[in-house]
Symmetry: C2
Subunit: 315 residues, 2 copies
């Protein structure tokens, strides 16, 4: 959609096309499967999906989702893509493709931003097949990901049942701890800072959990203290947590209300089978943290009320 349909560029009629061309060389390095058409037409053309099609969108804004004084611009692109792909992992889906809409003021290093986007796309095997660019005051990256669920269908949040065991794919709080450490002066390559800058969507874990038949699943993007409540709201159940596994270097508070860990939260009536399937695929065994109960109002950690807490935007 053009900004002003009667504006003319006069002597520089190909300016946007030139920028696009440089960006395409950064994000378009993947092999294009036969019969597909990615960047360069009105829409990208993808070979038929197998089974259900999954779609999710996520937007990241510089200065809101990333502090530009602490982190390089490429981290905004990386985190935006990783966060969106994590939503596919949360359904047990396989990533098929992503498209990106970037807003930025003139003078923004769009190549650096797109290097971060391309790195996350390569890491998650989720090719960037299209995009859009616009002028704005903010730098923002909106990422939409497409995935497929062959065989057994996508895992929703709403399937948790009383008696199910609640598990997570790993200890929590690493991302928040990394942000705290960076604020205190830690280097960009500090292990926890990297956990914050380069989140890893648990795609393999999500597929394994779907194949194991978990009843409900989601990713921990806003923190266990919000996301577990959301799952139990969707399933109309409560929970009794025994424990929250705290990652090395993180605080208990960071493990509960810190977001962006992107570990998966799963509930199942057969946790032994889930563990076996994970181990069989070379994945770390998931950690049991509690039990689902009938009463949607009962939500406890070691017998105490477990409050809803974590990040939400003020709109």
């Amino acid at each position: 959609m053009p900004a002003d349909p009667i504006a003319l560029l006069g002597e520089h009629p190909r300016q946007e096309d030139d920028v696009l061309e440089r960006i395409v060389t950064i994000v378009g390095r993947h092999a294009i499967p036969k019969g597909e058409r990615h960047i360069g037409d009105d829409a990208a053309v993808l070979a038929p999906f197998v089974g259900e099609a999954l779609v999710s969108t996520d937007v990241a804004v510089l200065g809101v989702h990333l502090d530009a004084s602490l982190f390089p611009l490429e981290d905004l692109g990386f985190k935006a893509v990783a966060s969106a792909v994590s939503d596919l992992a949360a359904m047990g889906a396989r990533a098929r493709a992503a498209v990106i809409a970037v807003c930025a003021p003139a003078g923004t290093d769009l190549e650096e931003l797109h290097r971060g986007i391309a790195d996350a796309a390569a890491m998650t095997n989720c090719p960037i097949v299209g995009g859009d660019l616009a002028n704005a005051q903010d730098v923002s990256v909106a990422v939409t990901v497409l995935g497929e669920c062959p065989g057994r269908g996508a895992v929703l949040r709403s399937g948790a049942k009383a008696g199910d065991i609640v598990l997570v794919t790993g200890p929590l709080g690493r991302s928040s701890a990394g942000l705290r450490r960076r604020r205190a002066g830690a280097a960009l390559d500090d292990e926890l800072v990297v956990a914050h800058r380069r989140p890893w969507p648990r795609l393999a874990e999500g597929v394994a959990a779907r194949n194991a038949g978990v009843h409900a699943m989601m990713d921990l993007s806003d923190g266990l203290g919000l996301d577990l409540h959301r799952m139990c709201d969707a399933s109309d159940v409560g929970f009794e947590l025994d424990d929250v596994p705290v990652a090395k270097g993180a605080t208990s508070e960071e493990a509960i209300s810190g977001g962006e860990d992107y570990e998966l939260l799963m509930v199942t009536d057969d946790p032994d089978r889930l563990r076996l399937i994970f181990l069989d695929r070379g994945l770390r065994a998931p950690l049991s943290i509690g039990t689902i109960v009938h009463d949607p109002l009962r939500r406890t950690l070691r017998g105490e009320v477990f409050e809803r807490r974590g990040f939400q935007h003020l709109l």
Copy 2:
């Protein structure tokens, strides 16, 4: 992706969820097909696509793509969705679903914005199946649309051949003329102003053109003066235009370099068949405007050089 993973909302922990709930009642009025899951999970779940899957993304920024002093905020939402859906029309696809990522400062009337989004989604039969919201200085709407191409595959820009006839689905310049009239004080319900505020994606025309076997197609979003060049660049051909059909009330310049008309540009070696198929489906007969030629450097209108002109962002 949370803005600050360790921020806590304290007394207002459900603020974002509340806003989302109000928005969902606006954009989620469509019937949800059996087996699908739309807003409310990590990702939307769609029933299997038939044939190729198409995806395109488009972002619109208030103050860049829409002048807030001339138009209501809902127009930004409407135009963002219509513009994205038009990219599906341009491939000959059927619209299946859209997701939206909205950025806005606190205090923005998000309900008005989403009413425009919902209107365009209803008009194009393209349900909103998911979204994201973030705080930012700008108001922006990133729309990603998904479509399918059963049977004969999607129509690309790159198939134009020497000797093909160039056609458009209607006279051009209405949107630019409407913007000019609004700037001069015309009412919001003036016919041309409405053409600017409420663009109509040519979905039925796109499917008809695909079924008729057109060689190349795209939508006129940035104006014939840019888009025809882009198609001929992709096809490595030139063109000789006889005429540019000017819409009633528009100027010749608006017809050539005005964008946002979203008429389709098509080339075919069988224009009679194309016209018959359009008429048979109750669609307006397309208008012939010229011929494709071998020499990619030959690009003329009535024998004069036809310059590249239209809107591009300065990045």
